[in-house]
């Protein structure tokens, strides 16, 4: 259109000129909007004054006078303001999102990959998971977990008790038996690898039983080895873990002294591990020999703080919960509201993330699969090194949307009584102050900011991923 200019504009009346027409339309729209806003504002101030509703933000500094049962910052009904209650609610919302997002991502990736598995049964089960969870309203799922699963648990007196192991001292014979079990597990796994070579159905069935046995041996042997060596658990019959209708009660583990030294040591360990990784990668690049990275990194990350702990004059105290009267005292409690919310949000969002992941993997050209198979990569390695990195570019934008949905859906906390931003602020504070316009505007603004902020971060990450493209 702009290739050739008309030497003279054809004469048209100004009311037929698209430019002036657009101008008029927009002016009319602007006027209508302004009138609407003005009408709404004047009605609101009139109605609010008539009903005695505050029209300013003065309530922010008034004492709240209500209790909140989960607070990450100092808060007291008598001493704290509505403003403080807002921050408590906001932090709880962020806590829920911060815990649910990683869990949902893990489950989602696992299910999404499982749905494309060559194993028919696993693919079907993953499909059942996705199709059943994403077609049932989240609210219904939350209510189910809360009212039908967690609430009917026995009361504190009849709590479900997780059985403990009775080991008083680091115990030589247990250690030897446990070590043998772990060793046997390793041998069984080796044997199962050999069975793969036979390439027969019977060999594979036998091999799979061997893997199952190996995993059992490792689980039991490893747990026994850990317990026998730590020798911390000298409890009679219980590990201080109780499950009842007040929630999950765990022992409280506290560090006495040396917190600063230990955190510095952890940081040093973390740094050293990454330095080691860089060195190992460089060596692999030069010599072509693969280095054992993951295990050594793990050893450095755990080992450095552990050795430091041995030299420090500090110790760990474990406070076990005790039944006093009708409830437990001491220990840490995970409330059923919190558990239901985290569990429901994570599993529900995971079903959507699984579909996103599946779509992303399917978007990678089939040739990439075949090429990695031709290079001799096993399915797991092919996924990790070839398929997923390329699929991530397709996955990230819709994944961001799912994270945002999760954050917005965390507002359903109000239905199970978890004190998130909506329950505390748009619920209790709104009811007590009546300042509807202010409270709801602030709540919406918070979600908007969180949404925009998350989009921004994921956008930056996405850009970094996209740059790898050649």
């Amino acid at each position: 259109m702009s290739d050739h200019k008309l030497t003279h504009r054809p004469h048209i009346a100004w009311w037929n000129d698209p430019f002036y027409r657009g101008l008029v339309y927009q002016l009319v729209l602007l006027c209508v909007l302004l009138v609407l806003v003005y009408e709404a504002a004047s009605n609101a101030s009139q109605n609010m004054r008539a009903r005695g509703i505050p029209t300013d933000f003065g309530f922010w500094f008034k004492t709240s006078g209500f209790d909140i049962n989960l607070t990450l910052i100092d808060y007291g009904a008598a001493s704290s303001t509505y403003g403080r209650a807002f921050w408590v609610g906001l932090l709880n919302t962020l806590l829920v999102a911060g815990i649910s997002i990683p869990i949902a991502t893990l489950i989602g990736f696992f299910i999404g990959i499982a749905r494309l598995s060559a194993n028919w049964l696993m693919a079907r089960l993953a499909g059942v998971y996705v199709e059943s969870l994403r077609n049932i309203p989240l609210l219904l799922q939350l209510l189910f977990w809360y009212n039908a699963v967690l609430k009917p648990l026995p009361n504190p007196r009849d709590s479900l008790v997780m059985p403990g192991v009775q080991i008083t001292q680091p115990d030589l014979s247990t250690t030897i038996i446990a070590s043998l079990m772990v060793l046997a597990g390793g041998l069984l796994l080796r044997r199962s690898r050999a069975m793969q070579g036979t390439g027969t159905l019977l060999g594979n069935v036998f091999g799979s039983v061997l893997i199952g046995l190996a995993i059992l041996f490792w689980l039991f042997g490893g747990a026994l080895l850990g317990l026998a060596n730590v020798g911390l658990l000298h409890l009679s019959g219980s590990m201080g873990v109780f499950l009842n209708n007040r929630g999950l009660i765990l022992p409280e583990i506290n560090l006495v002294g040396g917190a600063l030294e230990l955190s510095i040591a952890s940081l040093i360990g973390l740094g050293a591990a990454f330095v080691y990784r860089a060195i190992a990668r460089e060596r692999q690049r030069q010599t072509g020999k693969q280095q054992a990275v993951a295990l050594i990194m793990l050893a450095i990350i755990i080992g450095v703080p552990l050795i430091t702990f041995g030299f420090l004059d500090s110790h760990v105290t474990i406070a076990y919960a005790e039944l006093r009267g009708f409830n437990f005292a001491g220990g840490v409690r995970v409330s059923p509201e919190f558990a239901a919310l985290i569990f429901g949000l994570s599993t529900y969002t995971a079903s959507f993330i699984a579909e996103v992941v599946r779509g992303g993997i399917l978007a990678v050209p089939q040739g990439q699969n075949e090429a990695s198979a031709a290079l001799g990569l096993r399915r797991g390695l092919a996924l990790k090194l070839v398929i997923i990195p390329q699929a991530m570019r397709v996955i990230i934008p819709p994944l961001t949307n799912q994270y945002l949905n999760l954050i917005k859906n965390s507002s359903l906390a109000v239905f199970v009584g978890f004190p998130d931003l909506v329950q505390v602020f748009a619920g209790t504070v709104l009811n007590q102050t009546g300042a509807a316009v202010q409270v709801i505007s602030i709540t919406m603004a918070v979600y908007l900011v969180v949404s925009l902020f998350t989009s921004l971060i994921m956008d930056l990450y996405n850009r970094r991923m996209a740059l790898v493209d050649r």
């Binding site: 994403r134 039983v209 509807a436 709540t443 919406m444």
Partner: protein, 387 residues
């Protein structure tokens, strides 16, 4: 090539070590069958030891869950009872008798029982019209959409709410159950399309103010949870209008849901508009059509057809989201279950699970069939565009 003839050297060394096999090779295992049940099991369940282990683990999981589930839902379930006493017996499963007795409450809420035919008729009309619109083989879609989007809301309103002198009025306070859930969903879908079309066109407009207003509205609504929109509709909306115009208790969440779904539908429709080839716009303009003629006759019919799967998907999430209207005191299906399961006549340990399983089944059947429909349609639409 320093040596005189390396090729000859190699040949002579090979000749010295030449080996000819004397005995025949041992017979190999017969190849793995490639057809039949065993081959299928080998390929799909026990391809490798690891895959086989996964199969065993999955079988263990199924064996752990499914028999108990069947026992709870069918074998140990109470199928008929006068009240909750048989259901409270230790070891009984789901209490289907409760669902049977409360079914009319679940469907109609507190709507007067002698007038539920009005609700039935309204829902039936809706179902027929939706079926007419969604089944591609049926003709006269234009007539169907006029009926559904214009005539049906009016007729449905008169039927369900009442009409001066003909049908007695039934206050919306009495409305409830599945009826209200479907009502919210239907109003949402009917209202969201025009809102969505206008916002989508606005967002693609060349007029900066129109574009800006559309973007702000769409992104604002999409950035906040539905609950806050419902709160806003419930508490702020009555403040914004003169007191004599205060909207009905049921109307407020309907407005909120419509705007909310409208913003999402706008983005779906915008995708369709963007996917339209430029030639369609240019062709329409070269025919001398005005903007609205071009949109109405050329662009929207094609763009909307293209995004029907997307619209159905947003309708699925709308249908699931209708459960949230309970937060502003609307008596939808889930809320009816919440109330009924606490009824002292029936209350018992298995009641919550029974109610939720029933509700889950209802929502699942609806949403799953809609998602299958949308997938089918997508495949059907893709046929025409495949090259």
């Amino acid at each position: 090539m320093s040596q005189s003839d390396p090729k000859l050297n190699i040949n002579s060394s090979v000749r010295q070590n030449v080996f000819v096999r004397q005995e025949s090779i041992a017979a190999r295992q017969p190849p793995i069958p490639t057809r039949g049940v065993l081959a299928w099991i080998n390929d799909n369940l026990f391809a490798t030891p690891l895959s086989g282990f996964v199969t065993l683990a999955c079988i263990a999981l199924v064996a752990l869950v499914v028999p108990d589930l069947i026992r709870y839902l069918f074998i140990d379930a109470i199928w008929s009872a006068e009240d909750g006493v048989p259901c409270r017996v230790e070891g009984t499963g789901a209490c289907w008798a409760f669902v049977e007795r409360k079914l009319s409450f679940f469907v109609y809420g507190s709507y007067p029982r002698e007038m539920v035919w009005r609700v039935n008729l309204t829902l039936l009309m809706g179902a027929l019209l939706v079926g007419w619109l969604l089944i591609p083989r049926l003709p006269a879609k234009r007539l169907a959409s006029v009926l559904f989007f214009i005539a049906y809301p009016v007729a449905g309103y008169w039927l369900a709410y009442g009409f001066e002198g003909v049908l007695p009025k039934v206050s919306t306070n009495l409305w409830g159950g599945v009826f209200v859930s479907l009502l919210v969903a239907l109003v949402g879908i009917v209202m969201s399309l025009p809102i969505g079309i206008v916002l989508a066109l606005g967002r693609r407009s060349h007029m900066p103010i129109v574009k800006f207003v559309s973007i702000v509205l769409i992104e604002f609504v999409r950035g906040v949870p539905l609950i806050t929109v419902l709160f806003m509709a419930n508490t702020m909306l009555p403040l914004f209008v003169p007191q004599e115009l205060t909207p009905d208790r049921l109307l407020r969440p309907l407005i909120g849901v419509s705007i909310f779904t409208g913003a999402y539908t706008a983005e779906t429709i915008r995708a369709g508009l963007q996917a339209m080839p430029k030639g369609q716009f240019e062709g329409a303009m070269s025919l001398g059509l005005s903007y609205w003629q071009m949109m109405r006759l050329i662009i929207l019919p094609q763009a909307l057809t293209m995004v029907i799967p997307g619209i159905v998907n947003s309708f699925i999430s709308l249908f699931k989201d209708t459960t949230l209207v309970a937060v502003v005191g609307i008596f939808d299906f889930l809320r009816a279950i919440e109330v009924a399961r606490l009824d002292p006549v029936w209350a018992g340990p298995s009641l919550s699970t029974t109610g939720y399983v029933f509700a889950a089944l209802f929502y699942w059947v609806f949403c799953y069939s809609m998602s299958r429909y949308s997938q089918n349609l997508e495949a059907r639409l893709a046929v025409g565009r495949r090259r």
